[in-house]
Point group: C2
DNA sequence: AAAATGCTTCAACTTTTCTTGAAGTGTTGA
DNA sequence: TCAACACTTCAAGAAAAGTTGAAGCATTTT
């Protein structure tokens, strides 16, 4: 993963609205949710929701699929997990031990 | 972890400058780095760096310790790892399998 | 004590992001 | 075909974040 991709991911999750939307989609699982469904579940006006969904989709954190006149969104959890790998790169290299950094086991040595 | 804490973490990492700083500190390990060191390593004016370090510290992603007239910063990787746990909460619950979501093994069932 | 160093805070400006109503696109059902 | 529906795009104003030089505070050196 490159820095730009990671930055897009963090930017996407740096808004309360988008964080709520992503979490809702994570909990929805592979079925995902259609836009209007998300709008009413979180009480966000459709115009505003569309703006934020665009940001999440651009970052790759959600995928969009047309379903008749509905638009179904799904979370991409794998990208989120990969992003952590990017952040913890080299955190245990060069004589730096996991014990000292307090990092959970398995994170630094995948 | 609550939503506010997670949001602070993502906001903190949603800037290119702060992402660079955090990654530098992750790679620096437990020794950390003093502010002036970071400033010259990443070519960021001290004033601006101070602004961004404040954001990272407020989110809890870095800690600051005075060392004479220097200020030493260290990364808090554990918080980053915890934040992922928050995001993937319930992602495999209620009949939703990890296989379908494509999530790395062990993430959903810690 | 005075000057130098390391860093932060402040104030002002610039830039970006957010929010909302109005208008637009495509789809479905009467 | 026409109205209703689901959602997105557009435009404009409001709010938040980023950047910089000048000034401030604390520590160290001379």
């Amino acid at each position: 993963m490159d820095k730009y991709t990671a930055l897009q991911v963090f930017e996407a999750l740096s808004s309360g609205v988008r964080l709520d939307v992503f979490r809702l989609l994570v909990q929805a699982g592979p079925e995902g949710r259609v836009a209007g469904d998300i709008s009413s579940a979180l009480d966000i006006p459709p115009t505003n929701l569309s703006f934020h969904l665009k940001g999440l989709a651009q970052a790759g954190l959600v995928t969009a699929e047309q379903e008749g006149r509905f638009q179904r969104y799904r979370a991409n959890i794998a990208l989120m997990v990969d992003t952590i790998g990017f952040l913890t790169e080299n955190c245990c290299g060069e004589g730096v031990s996991c014990e000292l950094t307090g990092v959970a086991e398995g994170v630094c040595k995948p």
